[in-house]
């Protein structure tokens, strides 16, 4: 509160992002403790949560006022013009303060009150139960057991308390292995494939240095491969590009002066497992770039698609040079490698990157998603995120920049995961229970700090913050809106989608407009198929239900008829019933019609809706390459 100097500024202009003609809406800007609110002259409200603000920029003063550009983490970009520089300065300073909190306790989640009582809140948090999930996968079993080694976070602070390891791996082996792994993140079970008895395991890189070995670590890996009765060898997947691993070691060990060749030789086998030391492993690099490369790649992508009057050629060359789709493909390819190892070779896989919380989470979760149709349901997808991202310590708060911290720790790792899932939904439109809106909503909330799920960087930190007592969980709210997030084309029983085998030919990857331009309505398709089909589906279900009711009525009447076939009175009593049957049918038709009307209303087809006219006006101006009518007139007359 102390940061807010001005709460209301009038006569503020909101510029259209893609209009070159400086078309704008005039309205009033309000600053609240949690949101920035703009209400235009048509009473349309634009709410911006302070936590969503990635950057605020004050541009040079113009004749019409002082421009303020706000970029949000959910890819909204707004451009205000505030008439008085003083007001602009006040808002600018307030937003700078409000968008960057220093303490967790100041985040929105701790004050957000959705009118739930404590028991509802608790039930919300209990909705996703990971112990239940491991049971569903089929662990513990004769080969895998729950380990209590990390019960007090003694071995690894960033892992959850409950970890599944091979039954034959004793506690000393686990402790020994954890000392040999970066941040103590020793190999543990991430996903168990019941039919194949193969496992996806995850860990961080080994601290093998120059030639160090760790017998316990070697034992643990052996235990993992032995836990798979069908296949003796296992894959160890390093998700980093090979050259990066080598240079990483070069800098870590400060061996900068060693000549290049020697460096490569010595560095080889340091930072990843040496196949000579481990029996029955097959080592594989899959080449996903690090968080810094990903951050700047997204930065470039946003720069390109934020350009006014972008030409088709500039768009595609920008898309290419940003490298974004190349990175998405790399993540997808790695996940496919995992799925294939398990399905085709029956082999277990151990995945790691450097610390095992970014690329490892991406690859393990996507791999599981390909293998197990449960994760493609609405509930299952929540479980997947809880398991591979939240519980295994993906540093959400640092990667999303929840607090004022090191900007170099921010990276769109989770966004990439969502984009990979979106690409899968495009390739397999019938395999997912949820739709695009679900993915977008989750993306919204990893940054919103409105719910407790994504706060903090690991389970231990979340417990210390007492999130379950002080904040609410996002998942029950999403489940309440189930209808909104359902994919109407989903076919749950289809066996063909048991394991997804996506095709990663380059042209199957496209720019995700609904994510990166989700607030730029002019770029969207004008009509939504998804909504229409959902409504039709509901309507069909209703009709089906009506029909069942009528059938049961009829059979009831028939029974009555048979029972009372001797008494004419009863027969008579059936006859008067039939008009009711008829009226209920009519009623059915009547209910259909209004529904029909609403579902057939086309977004934007209403002539009163002046988005078309706005758009058309803009159309003539927005493209410099397009000679506008007005411009054409001017040229003709001069």
């Amino acid at each position: 509160m102390e940061h807010i100097r001005t709460t209301k500024v009038e006569q503020v202009k909101l510029l259209d992002r893609f209009s070159t003609s400086n078309k704008s809406l005039t309205g009033t800007l309000y600053l609240t403790a949690t949101h920035l609110l703009f209400i235009d002259s048509h009473q349309k409200e634009t709410w911006i949560l302070h936590h969503h603000i990635a950057s605020v920029e004050k541009l040079a003063l113009t004749t019409s006022g002082c421009p303020l550009v706000i970029q949000c983490k959910n890819f909204r970009i707004v451009h205000f013009i505030v008439p008085k520089e003083r007001d602009c300065h006040d808002i600018y300073n307030s937003l700078l303060q409000l968008s960057k909190q220093a303490k967790y306790e100041d985040l929105y989640a701790f004050s957000y009150n959705p009118k739930q009582n404590d028991s509802e809140r608790l039930r919300g948090w209990q909705l996703i139960d990971l112990a239940e999930e491991y049971k569903r996968m089929g662990v513990p079993n004769s080969n895998w057991q729950l380990s209590d080694a990390n019960r007090e976070y003694k071995i690894c602070e960033t892992y959850p308390r409950e970890l599944y390891v091979p039954r034959i791996a004793s506690k000393p082996i686990i402790v020994g292995s954890s000392k040999f792994r970066s941040k103590g993140r020793f190999p543990v079970l991430s996903y168990y494939h019941q039919n194949k008895e193969a496992a996806i395991c995850r860990c961080s890189q080994p601290l093998s240095g120059f030639s160090a070995r760790c017998l316990e670590d070697e034992h643990l890996l052996q235990a993992i491969s032995k836990a798979n009765p069908a296949n003796r060898y296992m894959y160890v997947v390093d998700t980093r590009p090979k050259h990066r691993v080598q240079s990483w070691w070069a800098t870590q060990k400060d061996i900068g002066r060693i000549i290049l060749n020697a460096m490569a030789n010595r560095a080889a086998g340091k930072g990843y497992e040496n196949e000579d030391n481990y029996s029955n492993i097959r080592f594989q690099f899959v080449g996903i770039e690090n968080i810094h490369v990903m951050r700047s790649s997204l930065q470039k992508l946003l720069e390109v698609n934020g350009t006014k009057g972008l030409s088709v050629n500039d768009f595609y060359s920008g898309l290419e040079s940003s490298g974004w789709l190349r990175h998405i493909k790399a993540v997808m390819d790695a996940a496919i490698f995992l799925a294939k190892a398990i399905m085709v070779e029956n082999a277990s896989v151990l995945v790691h990157c450097s610390d095992g919380w970014d690329r490892t989470s991406q690859v393990c979760s996507l791999g599981s998603l390909l293998l197990d149709s449960y994760y493609r349901t609405i509930k299952g997808f929540m479980v997947l995120i809880e398991k591979d991202w939240i519980s295994f310590g993906h540093k959400f708060s640092e990667r999303c920049g929840h607090l004022d911290g090191d900007p170099k720790e921010v990276s769109p790792v989770f966004t990439q995961f969502l984009e990979c899932v979106w690409h899968l939904t495009e390739q397999f439109p019938q395999a997912f229970e949820f739709n695009e809106a679900f993915l977008l909503q989750i993306h919204e909330h990893i940054h919103s700090c409105q719910f407790g799920n994504f706060l903090g960087n690991c389970q231990k930190e979340r417990e210390e913050l007492k999130l379950k007592e002080k904040t609410h969980s996002l998942w029950p709210f999403l489940l309440d809106d189930r209808e909104k997030y359902s994919n109407p084309l989903y076919s749950s029983s289809s066996q063909r989608f048991a394991v997804l085998e996506p095709n990663t030919v380059s042209f199957n990857f496209k720019f995700w407009r609904s994510m990166y331009h989700q607030f730029d309505r002019t770029l969207h398709p004008r009509e939504s198929v998804c909504n229409i089909i959902t409504k039709m589906n509901e309507q069909n279900k209703q009709l089906e239900k009506d029909m069942k009711d009528l059938e049961s009525k009829i059979s009831k009447h028939k029974n009555e008829e048979i029972d009372g076939v001797l008494t004419k009175e009863l027969l008579h009593s059936v006859r008067p019933e039939s008009p009711t049957l008829k009226t209920s049918l009519c009623y059915k038709e009547q209910t259909v019609l209004p529904v029909n009307d609403t579902l057939r209303t086309i977004e934007g087809s209403n002539p009163v809706d002046n988005r078309y006219s706005e758009y058309a006006e803009e159309f003539s101006k927005s493209k410099p390459a397009v000679v506008s009518l007005e411009y054409g007139v001017a040229r003709m007359t001069c």
Binding site: N305, L310, S311, V312, N313, D314, F315, Y316, E320, G323, L325, R326, K329, Q427, F428, P429, Q430, P488, L489, S491, S493, N503, S506, F507, F511, R513, Y516, H517, T522, L523, H524, P525, R526, E527, V529, I532, I533, M536, N540, K548, E551, I554, S555, L581, K582, L585, I602, S605, N606, P607, Y612, F619, S620, K623, V626, V627, L629, G632, V633, M636
Partner: protein, 541 residues
């Protein structure tokens, strides 16, 4: 028949691979005058049939005692035939080569095709121009149907009847025709009742280096403005750049001068045409066939082929013309040089944007017939070869395909407003390049009359409107949208038409399944996974 001398072998044993995921088909291969037949060995599956005319390029390779023939078809499919015997392979290849490149129209397959359930001449009484005029006549009396071109003497590429301003008599039309390239004087393309304005098309005026004028031509355009809503001005959309239009004067062409046509203002919107457009198409198809390329290579090839840039230019020019009519209340005349390519692209797209009736199944067929076929788009020249052929003459250009792509983009942005689906667009593309029907034969109405296309061949429209095709062609979600469709032309909103350009590399089954599923939901059909089968008899109200 003279085909027999071109057929070097009648039969061979062969194996057919028709796609990356399709199973191989083994059997006896047979070359006939118009077809390649494969009758499968175990008689389980149907006869496989390929129209030879649809072969765009052929590549043969022999190894050991067998050979492989790769057939690249005009509809962008790639087929592989493995044939036993080196001699047989070469003979089959030579026969296909010779038969697929026959030029003669009257010996082409449509003149022999006699499908069941259709009678010759069934759909040829369909006269979209006359029926369109009836519609215009209800809206305004400023236009009349002129038979001045009855014997094709005025303009060989126009149909027998055209719609012209009522105030202009046939003699004036004849003089205006002499002032326009190829005799293509300004005619009505679309009357926009809502704003009382008209869309016209023509070819360039023959102004030449001496800056000639033609009083009747000026009078014609003046009459257009006089017949429109009071105070209407006119826009001339020239589909060439100002520079090119000026240069055209050296070869006798040019563009309307401001002084000679009061009330008309000129806009230049250069659209790619001819050879460059064909090259763009060829490069895109090449890029789409390469499965090995990296992401960067793919994006850079997609960028450098410029196809999507052409889509954007075409759509935004059409929007400009439509906007001029709808929002500025102006009449619009569109022309380039010959007025048979990009001109038709712009006028037909503008109608689709403005006119709800042209977005229905019947309306769209009428639009294609009226604005492309009868308007004299030279299909035979433009669609002689597709993207694979090496023998390229300078006349090929995928203008019609560009139109279909733009319509597809509209359909993607307005998925409920078009009564037809991707299936119809794909079918039109295939039939424009090679078809058993006569609809896309020849270059103009005049040629079609000479070849007796109307009486000797079947119309594609009656073929398409047979009920078994409907489900593939229609959009289950269609609902009449009375307003204009203003698409977004930002690059982020345009997409590659995967169903066409990537048809060879990705199986279409999945999108067909989705289409089928949507149909089921809309018509509320029962499927095995959606609901249990109801055992009790359905109640009868």
């Amino acid at each position: 028949m003279e085909f027999s001398e071109l057929i070097r072998t009648r039969q061979a044993q062969a194996e057919l691979l028709s796609g990356p995921e399709a199973p191989a088909l083994r059997g006896t291969l047979c070359v006939t005058g118009h077809h390649l037949l494969l009758s499968p060995k175990p008689q389980a599956t149907d006869l496989w049939l390929l129209l030879l005319r649809s072969v765009d390029s052929i590549e043969k390779r022999v190894a050991g005692d067998s050979g492989t023939i790769t057939l690249r078809c005009k509809d962008l499919r790639v087929l592989q035939l493995r044939i036993e015997g080196v001699e047989a392979t070469l003979d089959v290849a030579r026969s296909i080569e010779a038969l697929s490149s026959l030029e003669s129209v009257i010996t082409s397959y449509p003149f022999f095709y006699r499908p069941k359930g259709l009678r010759l001449g069934d759909a040829w009484h369909f006269h979209p121009l006359e029926s369109y005029y009836k519609r215009v006549a209800l809206e305004t009396d400023a236009w009349r149907l002129s038979e001045v071109n009855e014997d094709f003497s005025l303009c060989p590429s126009y149909p027998r009847v055209v719609i012209v301003p009522r105030a202009v008599d046939d003699a004036a039309l004849a003089r205006s025709a002499r002032f326009r390239q190829g005799g293509r004087f300004p005619v009505l393309s679309y009357h926009h009742a809502r704003s009382g304005t008209a869309l016209l098309r023509s070819s360039q005026p023959l102004i030449g280096p001496k800056k000639l004028r033609c009083a009747e031509d000026e009078e014609l355009l003046g009459a257009v403005l006089a017949g429109a809503r009071p105070g209407a001005q006119g826009f001339i959309v020239d589909t060439r750049s100002a520079q090119t239009a000026k240069q055209a004067r050296m070869t006798g062409g040019g563009t309307e001068s401001k002084a000679a046509y009061p009330g008309w203002k000129r806009l230049h919107r250069p659209l790619e045409r001819g050879r460059h457009l064909q090259e763009s198409f060829v490069r895109l198809v090449e890029a789409c066939g390469d499965l090995e390329q990296s992401m960067d290579q793919w994006l850079s090839r997609l960028d450098s082929c410029r196809w999507l840039a052409h889509v954007q230019e075409a759509l935004s020019t059409a929007c400009l013309a439509a906007q001029g009519m709808e929002r500025e209340g102006a009449c619009v005349l569109v022309h380039g040089a010959e007025g048979m390519d990009s001109t038709l692209l712009v006028t037909s797209l503008a109608q689709l944007i403005l006119d709800p009736l042209s977005r229905t199944m019947a309306g769209f067929q009428e639009l294609v017939e009226r604005e492309w076929i009868q308007a004299g788009h030279p299909f035979q020249l433009r669609c002689a070869h597709s993207a694979f052929s090496h023998a390229r003459s300078k006349h090929e250009a995928p203008t019609f395909l560009l139109f279909l792509d733009c319509v597809w983009q509209l359909g993607r942005q307005f998925p409920l407003s078009l009564e037809f689906g991707e299936g119809l667009l794909l079918a039109l593309f295939e039939h424009a390049y090679a078809s058993p029907f006569g609809t896309f034969l020849c270059n103009s109405e005049k040629e079609r009359c000479l070849c007796e296309v109307r009486t000797q061949t079947h119309s594609l429209w009656s073929g398409l409107n047979q009920s078994k095709e409907q489900r593939k062609l229609r959009n289950p979600l269609y609902v009449l949208n009375p307003s204009a469709l203003w698409p977004s032309v930002e690059p982020q909103s345009l997409r590659l038409w995967q169903g066409l350009f990537l048809r060879q590399t990705r199986p279409p089954e999945r999108s067909e399944e989705v289409w089928e599923k949507v149909w089921q939901i809309v018509t509320d059909e029962k499927t095995e996974d959606s609901r249990p089968v109801v055992s009790a008899p359905e109640p009868q109200p």
